[in-house]
Subunit: 196 residues, 2 copies
DNA sequence: GGTGCATAGTTGAATCGTAAACTAAAGCAG
DNA sequence: CTGCTTTAGTTTACGATTCAACTATGCACC
């Protein structure tokens, strides 16, 4: 049975070599292609990230859920609370919490039904909508923030040394900067639309 | 307008102090409670993580989508490919990719319709189901792995120094270990079921 | 001042994920 | 064996998210 590791080359001998030519075979026959598979170290870190980020998401969401709100709703409300006057444009919210416009529309609608936010027309732009945190929303947030910060500490901040947590921050800042610098849509030339 | 930062105390003077007693006021009136808000450093790293992890998820998912698969489906298939004989129990898959049993059932059903995996009764346990990667699934994965590893490099591994990436791996390993060590369900005593 | 294109946001359908109830087989105590 | 509890996995219904199409305003340029 042929073993396909999605990252490392099938041959363990080659693992430490970060860049090499490997044979990848598919429907159209064997083709030699240069693929920079991950080294053993890289693979280990990447897997740890993937696993732990899922666990973290699940844990934080779980802890908030028992207070009746999801993490993504919380993020929206918390961004509003930090904004001047508790008000932000829809698109500003979308950018801040890294969600699609459409998703923000839906999420905001849910929070509006709950009475935590209100929609108002943007004063300067006829197309725009300003989202405003209501007093009720602010009150609820003060509650939630206490539970949430404890959750974040328990599952994340406090499980490692301050130095390591700072390094993690630095690493993720690099990811953020790279993402902002290269807002590439899935390069159409790279997109064979399921050619297999 | 009272500004509520969900993590730091409202008063900037207090930021460097990691633990203090703050007044949190809610419906039942002002109550003094000890909350370990995040320091400025911690806050900065946490925010960077939150933002970048969302961006990363979006970017990796986007890059795979144009090849007709989602990241969570990819994860399932890739775990199978690494398993002995390309076979794993449903629950083993769920644990490996950190998804609920129910979700794995759904995802597996989708992949089965696509012909990439097959379900078989577990030989030793009458309740169990073994998921097996089909040849077609393996062929597709070889394709996808190439695109995916490039995506992971571009958005993640290659945007920082190897040392920093290793530190990140170490940090996330700590998160994982803490999670495994404390599989706490949302502590019912902490769960006021929306008491606000 | 009208045409063309970009931007802001919404809508609705389809898909995906979650939560709780459910089936069925183990495991275990007596 | 019988009954009780746990474990594995599925199902169903519902809520959340995505995707593509759509409305409406702004903006640039001639």
């Amino acid at each position: 049975m042929h073993h396909v590791d999605p990252f490392r080359t099938p041959d363990p001998r080659d693992a430490p070599d970060p860049a090499r030519t490997v044979g990848v075979s598919w429907d159209h026959g064997p083709v030699a292609e240069t693929v920079r598979w991950l080294s053993e170290d890289e693979q280990s870190s990447w897997r740890a990230y993937l696993r732990a980020s899922r666990e973290l998401d699940a844990a934080l969401d779980r802890d908030l859920h028992c207070h009746g709100i999801s993490l993504s709703e919380y993020e929206l409300v918390s961004m509003l609370s930090e904004a001047d006057g508790g008000r932000l444009r829809m698109s500003a919210v979308a950018d801040l919490i890294v969600q699609s416009r459409s998703r923000v529309t839906h999420t905001a609608a849910r929070l509006e039904r709950r009475g935590w936010v209100a929609r108002r027309p943007a004063p300067d732009d006829g197309r725009g909508v300003v989202l405003e945190l209501t007093d009720e929303g602010r009150g609820a947030l003060e509650h939630l923030a206490v539970a949430h910060v404890e959750s974040v500490r328990r599952h994340f901040v406090d499980v490692m040394s301050p130095e390591l947590f700072r390094a993690l921050g630095e690493a993720m800042r690099a990811v953020d900067e790279a993402y902002d610098a290269d807002p590439t849509t899935p390069d159409p030339t790279q997109c064979p639309t399921m050619d297999a």
